[in-house]
């Protein structure tokens, strides 16, 4: 299997022109295998229902997990991401339609969404909720052992985001930023009303690598989205998925899965230290 598409440019230089489309199938197959193996190997965690009543004191029934803004960001990101993946890859696998204009406009919307998200994260100061620290590493190790049946120890409760979700976030962020940065440059190659055409801004080889990076990030996102949507629809994660729709989780879920000391929801312990402080 080849990893790159290459060509001889007019000066006879062998330059990359993009990533090999075989990798699309590699990403789909790896995604499918991941889902099947995970679904078969990892037992659904049954809710124990055991919560520390003392922690529940003073907490309302429903606790806000995602603000309207955060949910808006997530779904706008999701819609643009699907639009980008479909417009990018369907034509390659034979479902042809005029894709370029929809693709770059979806790309611009994604960029606006991401800018809003970054602003929101810094303005609301919840930057640290995604940060991976020592406790997350510990949580991850124990969680993995428990999942593989090598340990009876309970997986410790997480902060706002469990460590696996943080890892997804960071990898998806890198892939998305990679596609965004290269996508902006690729806008100079096509006719659009936002940026002037400037085909010869870089050498052929540099352009080639830009296309390769765009393709690698895009194909990476195929896998990431498969895995992400799979987790979102797993039964034991549905309460979290609902929170991405209606914004809240119930108190029991909160206490069962989250450490109030690491994730302080309004109305929870007054003394708990906010994560990362």
């Amino acid at each position: 299997m080849e990893f790159l598409r290459r060509a001889l440019n007019p000066w006879g230089e062998d330059v990359p022109i993009g990533v090999s489309w075989d990798l699309i199938w590699a990403a789909v197959i790896i995604g499918a295998v991941f889902v099947v193996v995970h679904a078969l190997m990892v037992p659904k965690k049954v809710a124990t229902g055991e919560i520390d009543e003392s922690e529940a004191k003073g907490l309302p029934e429903k606790l806000q997990r995602h603000t309207v803004g955060a949910r808006g960001f997530h779904w706008s990101m999701s819609v643009t991401m699907f639009a980008l993946l479909i417009t990018a890859f369907f034509p390659v696998i034979g479902i042809q339609f005029p894709w370029v204009t929809i693709h770059w406009i979806a790309g611009v919307l994604l960029i606006l969404t991401v800018i809003y998200h970054i602003y929101h994260v810094f303005a609301k100061q919840d930057f640290w909720t995604m940060w991976i620290d020592r406790r997350d590493v510990e949580e991850g190790k124990l969680g993995l052992k428990a999942a593989l049946g090598q340990s009876d120890a309970e997986r410790p409760r997480a902060g706002k985001y469990p460590v696996d979700q943080k890892m997804f976030h960071h990898v998806a962020m890198i892939a998305t930023l990679g596609a965004v940065v290269t996508g902006i440059l690729m806008m100079f190659r096509i006719d659009n009303f936002l940026l002037p055409m400037n085909t010869y801004m870089f050498s052929d080889a540099t352009w080639g690598w830009i296309y390769v990076i765009h393709g690698v990030c895009g194909i990476g996102l195929i896998f990431l989205v498969i895995a992400h949507v799979y987790f979102a629809i797993r039964p034991e994660k549905r309460w979290m998925t609902w929170s991405m729709i209606n914004g809240w989780i119930d108190r029991d879920r909160y206490l069962e899965n989250h450490d109030p000391a690491r994730w302080t929801v309004d109305g929870s312990s007054q003394t708990a230290e906010a994560e990362g402080d």
Binding site: P10, P98, V100, T199
Partner: protein, 333 residues
């Protein structure tokens, strides 16, 4: 520009004697196979060693798709391997489809028309020289268009229908067949399909590497002309750099159904201004119910170039299109 080398890269040569055999071979080789008709487009690519198929399937002996026969419903059936000369000189084509006879008769030179086939003329690739020099542009699977940059030589390129690629469809018979509402019959290992001529051509927005719907393994077998319309008027004009022979700069083909001095129905098609023959739907709608006069022609010309965008060296095509469309309505006879 292009360095023509006389030695063609080696390939397996097949000379099937029937459509079934041809299709089976084409299926077997997929995108490694190449259909050879008259060779006038084909041998350019081969001699430049830009296209190097593993197998060439020569249709010269497939007699069942050569020749012109009476079709069903009073139409005409033209085999894809019929030479352009045969099309241009056929008595029925001349009397019933003079638009097509004219178009075929204006292709290149007598020698080329003797050798070139109607099928090959329709399916032929674009003449964009960056592409034909073997440069790795979008159409060749790359990631750049050399013809749309600021310093590019693009006098012959398109003024509409571009999507990264700005090449044009060079065929003279294609716009005539779209105007005549012909059907293209395509055979492949999965059976036979038929396309309206207007749907047979593909723009780069849909597929930047193809000019037509044909995929590897697809063989154009016949072109079916519907019965000529009573009292139809037609117009064909090809503008080229040299009168002796040359590819078209802009070509117009139109068919008007005029009754009581009023246009009842129209098909107006312009080629070499886009990567596919452009059927001017807005023009057709606007001229229906009007007299084929100077005034209607003028209006049609203006509508025809709405949204047209010139590249650096081809704004003359906008004026040319405007005028040709005008004439094609005013002067249709």
């Amino acid at each position: 520009m292009a360095v023509i080398r006389d030695m063609i890269a080696p390939f397996e040569l097949y000379q099937p004697a029937g459509v079934d055999d041809a299709v089976r071979l084409m299926d077997q080789y997929g995108d490694e196979g190449w259909v050879l008709a008259g060779g006038l487009d084909t041998f350019d690519w081969f001699k430049d060693r830009i296209k190097r198929p593993a197998a060439v399937i020569d249709l010269a002996a497939v007699d069942e798709i050569r020749g012109i026969a009476e079709g069903g419903d009073g139409g005409l059936d033209i085999g894809a391997m019929t030479s352009l000369t045969a099309v241009a000189e056929h008595a029925d084509v001349q009397s019933r489809y003079p638009l097509l006879a004219e178009a075929a008769g204006l292709v290149a030179t007598p020698q080329i028309r003797n050798q070139g086939t109607l099928g090959g003329n329709i399916v032929q690739d674009t003449r964009c020289w960056y592409y034909r020099s073997g440069w790795p542009c979008y159409r060749a699977g790359g990631n750049i268009c050399y013809a749309s940059t600021r310093r590019a030589m693009n006098r012959e390129h398109c003024i509409m229908g571009a999507d990264r690629c700005v090449a044009v469809n060079p065929s003279d018979t294609a716009p005539a067949l779209v105007a005549l509402d012909a059907e293209m019959v395509v055979a492949s290992s999965s059976g036979e399909r038929t396309y309206a001529a207007a749907d047979f051509f593909v723009g780069p927005d849909i597929d930047i590497e193809r000019m037509t719907v044909l995929e590897p393994g697809d063989l154009l077998t016949r072109i079916v002309l519907p019965a000529p319309r009573e009292g139809a008027r037609w117009y064909f004009e090809k503008i080229r750099d040299r009168k002796s022979w040359d590819f078209s700069l802009v070509t117009v083909a139109s068919m008007l159904q005029v009754q009581g001095g009023v246009i009842q129905d129209a098909r107006v098609v312009v080629n070499s201004i886009a990567p596919y023959p452009v059927r001017m739907g807005a023009v057709e709608a606007a001229i229906r119910g009007r007299e084929p006069s100077e005034e209607t022609g003028q209006m049609a010309g203006e509508i025809a170039v709405e949204g047209a965008r010139a590249l650096r060296h081809n704004d003359y095509k906008i004026a040319l299109t405007r005028n040709l469309v005008k004439r094609s309505i005013r002067d249709a006879a």
